[in-house]
């Protein structure tokens, strides 16, 4: 068994697509109209055939309170691996990203947490 897709609930798919591609640097893989929403997935440019990230609409009534509670306590909805957390922190802040946790070294692993502008926090991890 392998992980084929993982998902984040986004408030606005179009806005999410822009943030996850223009700012975070992912690439669009599938964009299929499904009624009001889209089947919208992304991949890393380093692994175009790797695990896809689904930008899933937040329409279900259970989703907004779930997201609000996680964000308030600083809990990330997803975690992405990077080569250099501090360099990414500087790069993303230049692009206007807001962090709720600055780079933190924790026994060989460095992490930071940022806002994806679509209702989620995203963790970036180095050395995992």
């Amino acid at each position: 068994m392998r992980i084929y897709i993982t998902s984040v609930f986004v408030d606005d798919q179009e806005k999410a697509l822009r943030f996850y591609t223009d700012v975070l640097g992912f690439e669009k893989k599938h964009d299929i109209p499904m009624g009001e929403a889209r089947w919208l997935t992304l991949v890393s440019p380093d692994a175009p055939d790797g695990t896809e990230l689904l930008l899933e609409p937040s329409g279900h009534p259970a989703v907004p309170p779930y997201k609000t509670a996680l964000v308030q306590d600083g809990i990330p909805a997803a975690s992405f691996a990077v080569d250099d957390v501090r360099a990414e922190y500087d790069r993303l802040r230049e692009l206007g990203a807001e962090f709720t946790q600055e780079p933190l070294e924790m026994g060989g692993v460095t992490t930071a947490v940022l806002d994806d502008t679509c209702g989620n926090l995203i963790q970036i991890v180095q050395g995992a």
Partner: protein
Amino acid sequence: MAEDVFKALADPTRRRILDELAERNGQTLFEICARLVTKHGLSLSRQAISQHLAVLESAGLVVSRRQGRYKFHDLNTEPLEHIVTRWLSPEPPESTP
């Protein structure tokens, strides 16, 4: 108030939380939990950490602040100053015989 401060400081986990906030203010609950686990091997539930934070807050040692949709915790050392100065008052002048 001083009683609350002593009670809050009596617990080792709460002292660790203050240590970590002294290193960096403005931490989310998530960051505090992550620091306690990875740096001190204290794997408590988030709910337990929340309760410890509530004790520290009621003693005035931690102040939580809402910023937009986030909630950050800051260290407040003011209550400690009252404790320290309590026994560090200047010596009374020597009485003349």
